[in-house]
Amino acid sequence: MSIGHTLLGLLESGPRHGYDLKRAFDEKFGHDRPVHYGQIYSTMSRLLKNGLVEVDGVESGSGPERKRYAITKAGITDVGQWLAQPEKPDPYLQSTLYTKVVLALLTGRSAVELLDTQRSEHLRMMRILTDRKRQGDIADQLICDHALFHLEADLRWLELTAARLDRLAQEVSA
């Protein structure tokens, strides 16, 4: 996720202080992990340098310097371009789980048990997300659903693999 584009997008509705930007970011997109103020500061410096934002004013006083940033025309264009460009789908070709299953089969450990344990773990996570979804607002629900669908995809893969373990074992040991 591009923090730069996100911050630019947040500025489009109006100029903000750096601290406000962090709060808005955390609230809407931060979820479990809040962004460090340092990261905001360094990103804004880069955007300033590239002419995508400008300093709208400085509030002097005690404590840290408080700049107010505003988006430039170039910045607005940049956000538009970013939104219009599709994200590259993740091919998911590198999978730790697959590696683990093959290794279990190669070393004569129980791949079934591995898969069962993993499913339990996935479901545990899904339950947590489902619970959070039930109590959260629409933003929570959407973000949790995104995760749940991915986890469900993993689980389906687990089911399918479990059903085809015998054939995999033959090929691996061949």
Binding site: L123, M126, L151, L155, E159
Partner: protein
């Protein structure tokens, strides 16, 4: 609530080493199961693994070939057909995937049906049914026939019917199987919320992980056997 079994193991409904064959093919091959009051347990597994048969056995619809089922201290396997019917009427609720509403009865009459079967007066039964339709956000379909409502509404009516008799166990066999994911999840949410609120246990058969995620715990049936460490509980 009866004492011995529940206090001993904390379980409301439990099954031990169930076996059941239809013809030469075994559907259940030594399956065990246990559920506590108010608990939501998902039975998962691939198609044909025997999960529906397990549900039918647990609910006393199909008698197992061997094994024991204990509900609230009573051996289900020892009960007569009439006694099991009475148990299903009074203590259990059911939701199926489709085709469970009586097409010629209106939705509110469908919901009231279990109460009326239990001998409750029509007026009272309808009042309770209407209350449940409201809880499941389908109060406006009460007078319509099942053929005139959408799949999601119909399934909510079915859930209302399963819960109207304040059952201690709700058996749900792929309750969202015929619904899209949005409607499916909404039904699951209403079902589990309502069940939790009324302290009803839910036995949920599903092959969808996102539906199973509404449970407290899952077990997996494969080839008629339960593959889950949690069974040891």
């Amino acid at each position: 609530m009866s004492t011995q079994d529940t206090t001993l193991t904390g379980s409301l409904l439990s099954a031990h080493e169930l076996r059941k064959s239809f013809g030469p093919t075994p559907a259940l091959d030594g399956a065990s199961f246990s559920i506590r009051p108010g608990e939501v347990v998902a039975i998962m597994g691939p198609s044909g693994s025997g999960k529906s048969t397990l549900l039918h056995c647990l609910a006393g619809i199909v008698p197992p070939d061997s094994g024991t089922i204990t509900y609230s201290g009573r051996h289900l396997t020892a009960l007569s057909d009439a006694e099991r019917s009475a148990l299903r009427r009074n203590d259990f609720g059911f939701v199926f995937q489709f085709g469970q509403l009586v097409p010629e009865l209106s939705c509110v009459e469908n919901v009231a049906l279990p109460l009326r079967l239990a001998g409750i007066k029509r007026k009272d039964a309808h009042r309770a049914a209407q209350k449940w339709l409201e809880r499941l956000e389908v109060s406006d379909v009460g007078h319509k026939r099942p053929g005139e409502v959408s799949g999601g509404q119909g399934q909510r009516v079915a859930v209302a019917r399963a819960l109207v008799g304040s059952p201690r166990v709700v058996f749900a066999d792929e309750p969202t199987g015929a619904l899209d994911s949005y409607n499916g999840e909404r039904v699951m949410q209403l079902l589990t919320d309502a069940a939790r609120e009324s302290q009803a246990a839910v036995v949920l058969v599903t092959h969808e992980a996102r539906v199973a995620a509404y449970s407290d715990r899952e077990i997996v049936v494969r080839d008629g056997q339960v593959r889950d460490a949690a069974v040891a509980v």
